[in-house]
Structures are given as C-alpha cells and as structure tokens.
C-alpha cells in the first residue's frame, strides 16, 4: 500500500462493468490520496480506460461504489461529475475544432452560471466584464503553453502536440480538484514528452490530485508517487514502482497478459 498520509479523495470499491460477455472491470478496488500523482498501469485490456470512463461518468458501473470526496458518483452523468471538480482528458485530445483556441479556453473556465439565455440578453455588460478577466487569465495560460500566437485560429487546425498542450491549458483554466489523464503521452513527440512530465507535475503542485493512465513505464516511475496495477479488470497491487518490481504477480500479469491479449 502507498504512504498512509493524506485522506482518500477517490475511493473505488468492488466495481464491476461488463460488455456482453466481457468483464472489462471485474471487482476493482483502490483509493487515491488527495494531492497525490498516481499512475494507473496494466497490460492492454486490463480495464484502465473503462475505469476512467466509469469514474468520470461516461459509463455506469454494473455494481460497486465510486466515491469522490465522500460523495457517491457511480452512474452520475459525466457533466455532473465534471462540475463536482473531477475532470478527465481523452486518449486523443478532444477540443472544439471549429471554435478558436481562445473560445476553447473561455469554455473551460467554471462559468456554468453565466450560460443562461436570460443573462445573455439582459446582463450583457456584466458578462462582458467577467469575461474580460477570463480572457486575461486565458492569454497568460496560452502564453505559458506556447499557444498565444494561435489564439484566434480554429482549434481543429492545431497539430497533435499543440492539441495536447491546449488540453492541458484548458484543464489549468478549469482548475478541477482531481484530474484523470488517459494516456497523456499518446501521439506526442519525444521533445514534448519531457515537457508534458513537467506540466503534469505542475498540476499537482497547483493542488490538483492526478491519476494518469500510461503505458510508458519509465515515465510513470519518474513522475508518480503511487502506482496502481490493473489486470483482467481487477486491481492487482498498489505501491511505488520499486515495490511493484518485486511483486511476482505483477510481473506475471504484465508478461503473461501481453501474450493473452485478444
């Protein structure tokens, strides 16, 4: 088990989710400490991405409980989970391609209360003023992520790496309490990978709790305090990478699992 310090922000207990005859997640149990950077690893088909979908509300568990900050969120619609402060990224970055980079940023601030038709018609001045502040923050963030000169371009025209950076910039604008990253290194070139590591560290230093699904094990080892290993829909072990290396079951699952993948 990981270090006992800090309370559990996310608790997953005996969660099951199957698709037809396939048990993608089969009784997974683990918890994530507040303020930690936790890696979620495992062979292909271990159920990692399904786990992310279940926690973020994009799928509902068949049974079991998922608690975020003490609140049951299993089966809750994705937008509600997001508004509770638990947000996620996707394997391929999902931006709003036809909207500009700046509009993508403005949509990422937690401003749901401003999005009423009534306010859009009758409080246009105060909306403008509030948005002016958001724009200043957004420009600073875009500058930090090297995207400022592209602020008026449609986000769909960015390169793969730039889209990944924009995704990070949007998460930084949203400032959620917890972030689930689904393979943040996928489709990113080696130079940017190093930078991604720093940016993920920045998220934690800014107070977010981060769970990262990742196949690049050296990257996980360098970055994460705690690592959770999944195989066949279950949570096999939790610990630091060096602890896990001594874990016979983990080694078997990884090497055996690769051959066993359908």
């Amino acid at each position: 088990m990981g270090e006992p310090s800090g309370t559990a922000l996310l608790e997953v207990d005996s969660v099951i989710r199957s698709f037809g005859g396939v048990q993608a997640v089969n009784g997974a149990t683990f918890s994530v400490r507040e303020g930690s950077l936790t890696g979620l690893i495992g062979p292909n088909g271990a159920g990692k991405s399904t786990m992310i979908d279940l926690i973020s509300g994009f799928q509902s568990p068949d049974s079991g409980t998922i608690r975020f900050a003490g609140k049951e969120i299993g089966g809750m619609p994705a937008y509600k989970v997001s508004n509770l402060g638990l947000m996620r990224s996707f394997q391929t970055p999902r931006e709003w391609p036809g909207l500009t980079v700046m509009e993508n940023m403005l949509l990422s601030f937690p401003i749901r209360n401003r999005e009423s038709i009534w306010r859009g018609l009758f409080t246009r001045k105060s909306l403008k003023a509030a948005e002016r502040e958001d724009r200043v923050v957004a420009r600073t963030l875009l500058d930090h992520f090297g995207l400022l000169r592209l602020k008026n371009e449609p986000a769909g025209t960015l390169s793969g790496g730039q889209k990944r950076l924009l995704e990070f910039a949007r998460l930084a604008a949203a400032r959620p309490r917890m972030i689930l990253l689904d393979e943040p290194q996928a489709g990113v070139n080696p130079v940017l990978r190093v930078r991604m590591g720093e940016l993920i560290r920045d998220m934690v230093n800014d107070g977010a709790t981060v769970v990262m699904v990742e196949h690049n094990l050296p990257f996980v080892e360098r970055l994460c305090d705690t690592v959770i290993v999944m195989a066949l829909g279950r949570c096999l072990a939790t610990g630091t990478m060096s602890e896990l290396r001594a874990h016979k079951e983990v080694i078997d699952a990884y090497l055996g699992g690769v051959e066993g993948v359908a």
Binding site: E95, E115, G120, L127, R149, G160, G161, L192
Partner: protein
C-alpha cells in the same frame, strides 16, 4: 414602390426570419432538424386562431379559440405555442438520439403533423382552411393597401430577431451551444448538460420559426392546411447552405437568393410540352442542383461563420518567445 416589389421583399423578409430560426437549430447546435416547417405551420395556425373571431364555419369545418386578439399579441402567442411544442418534440427526440436518428424522428413528427392538419377539419378548417384575417396596417393610407407598412413591420421584426440572436450567439450561452455542435463529449467533460443546451436551442429556434409563421399567416391572411409540406424545410436548408451555415447575414442573403431570386428567375423558364407545372418542377431541380454545387465547391457558404477574434484592450503585449512545438 410597386406592389410586386413589396410582395417579393415581404416574402424574403419573412422567410429570412424562418431561416434564422433554422440557423439556431442547425447552425448553432448542429441539430439536423427536418421538422422546422412544422413549427412555422404551428406559428401560422396559432396566429390565425388567436387573431380571428370565434369560428362560424359550417360543421364539420372549424377551428379552436377565435380570441379576436390584436395582431401583436397573436404574434407573441404564436411564438409561445411554437416554443412549447418545440420543447415537447425536442424533449423526446433529443434525449437519446444522435444526428441522423434525431433527423428521422423530426421528419416523422413533421409528416404526422402534416397529415393531422390535412385531415382534422374541426381543428384546421378543412379544405378551405382558416381564413379571414385582416392584414395589419392594410387600412392605413397611403401605402397600407399595397402592404408597404406591413413590409416595414416585418423588417422591424427581422432586425429585432437578428439583434437578439446576435447577442445570444456571442454570449456564453451561444458559445456553449456551439461547443455542443463541435464535440458533445468534450462539452460533457467540461460540465455541460448537453441535452439541456440542445433543447434550449431547439426551443429558441422553434420560437423564431413560429414568429415567422405568424407573419406569414398575417401576410397571406389565411392558413391553408395543404401548404405545409416537409419539403419546405429543405428549401430553408438550401438558403442556409448558400448563405453560410452559422452566419446570420448569410442566412438572410441565402433566403433572398433561394426564395426570391431563384423563385422569380425560374418563373420565366419555358414550360416543357404542355405540362403547366414544369416551371415548379424545374425550380426544385434548380434548388437541388444548387445545394449540391454549394456543398461541393463552397461547403462553408458564401459568407462563412464568423470567427470570434480575441482583441486585447490594452496596447498589444509583445508576443512571448514561442515554445517550439512540432506536430505530434
């Protein structure tokens, strides 16, 4: 001004309002709605029965209400009724269905409504339809009898609709609706209730379409049950495609192009053989060819959706040294 020019302009202005309604649904929210003209019909009918005195049509013909309400109140009533029915249809069709399945459901609604309007004589006046309204301002000299003042009112309504929609388009609400069009999943991941945003856009579009229907009924002073075919919706799509989906000015331009220019130019096409309806058929063929040509050569339309420019209010800050990012 000749009555001919006035009638062309009035048609163009009224259909522009209808096109702005479709632009909210399809242009902002990306809802492939085929029922739009059903809500124009609902607006036209509601206007008629709010505006007319109680029915004196011989049974089985007839209509409900007959409130004798002034035209402006009847217009508001038409918007409200269209909005409520949009909410009902949208709540069903938008809940679980995506894109084409949503489109098929709205088509089914439009067909069912067309049949009901055509069949239910006690509600919709039967063969003759609901008629006998007085066109607003038509008694006002010197231009009322030509429809000049009515045209002026339609232009005022168009300007108001245009301004209100333009505010909403640029507001956080409009941006959130457009985000749903661009990527629903991303909108959910960033806390948007996608269903509710789509439903709001559907109702807003329905209100505008209903207002257009009310003006249409006020203009032609009757409600003909046989004039409301789902085919009309595609003409409005044609107008949006030509003008530029998502661009309000484009929608108005496209409407005048399709509903006035094409309409009038095809009037002078020769009839083929002794088939008197061939110009009508040729007009639809021309509009069909126009849709294909536009989608092929200029899918964004003549006036593409404007891009929201972020301009700094203070003096331009120097561009920070760029982080070299190569494509991934």
């Amino acid at each position: 001004m000749s009555a001919y020019i006035i009638s062309l302009a009035t048609t163009g202005v009224i259909f522009s309002i209808v096109a702005l309604g479709l632009n909210v649904r399809w242009g902002w929210a990306g809802e492939f709605d085929i029922a739009l003209f059903a809500f124009v019909a609902i607006g036209a009918y509601s206007y008629s029965v709010f505006n007319l005195p109680p029915s004196t049509l011989p049974y089985p013909a007839g209509y409900i209400l007959g409130l004798n309400a002034p035209f402006w109140l009847s217009m508001i009533g038409a918007m409200v009724v269209s909005g409520i029915l949009s909410a009902a249809v949208g709540a069903l069709a938008l809940r679980k269905l995506r894109d084409d399945y949503f489109g098929i459901t709205t088509l089914a609604f439009a067909l069912v409504l067309t049949l009901i309007i055509g069949q239910d004589t006690t509600l919709f006046g039967g063969f003759e339809g609901v008629y006998g309204m007085v066109q607003p301002f038509s008694n006002l000299e010197p231009f009322g009898s030509d429809g000049g003042y009515f045209l002026a009112m339609c232009v005022v309504v168009l300007v108001i609709v245009f301004l209100v929609l333009n505010w909403l388009y640029k507001s956080p609400f409009g941006r959130a609706v457009r985000s749903v069009r661009e990527d629903e999943t991303a909108s959910q991941a960033f806390g948007r209730n996608v269903y509710l945003l789509k439903l709001k856009a559907y109702v807003l579009g329905g209100c505008v379409a209903g207002l257009g229907g009310a003006l249409l009924a006020a203009y032609i002073t009757s409600f003909n049950p046989y004039a409301w075919t789902p085919q009309e919706t595609f003409l409005i799509y044609a107008a949006l495609f030509v003008g530029g989906t998502g661009n309000a000015i484009g929608a108005i331009f496209g409407t005048f192009f399709v509903f006035v220019f094409i309409q009038e130019i095809t009037r002078y096409m020769p009839t083929i053989g002794d088939n008197a309806s061939s110009p009508d058929a040729l007009r639809l063929i021309a509009i069909g060819a126009l849709i294909v040509a536009i989608l092929w050569f200029r899918p964004q339309g003549v006036l593409p959706e404007p891009r929201a420019k972020d301009v700094e209010d203070t003096a331009e800050t120097p561009v920070a040294p760029e982080v070299q990012v190569t494509s991934g």
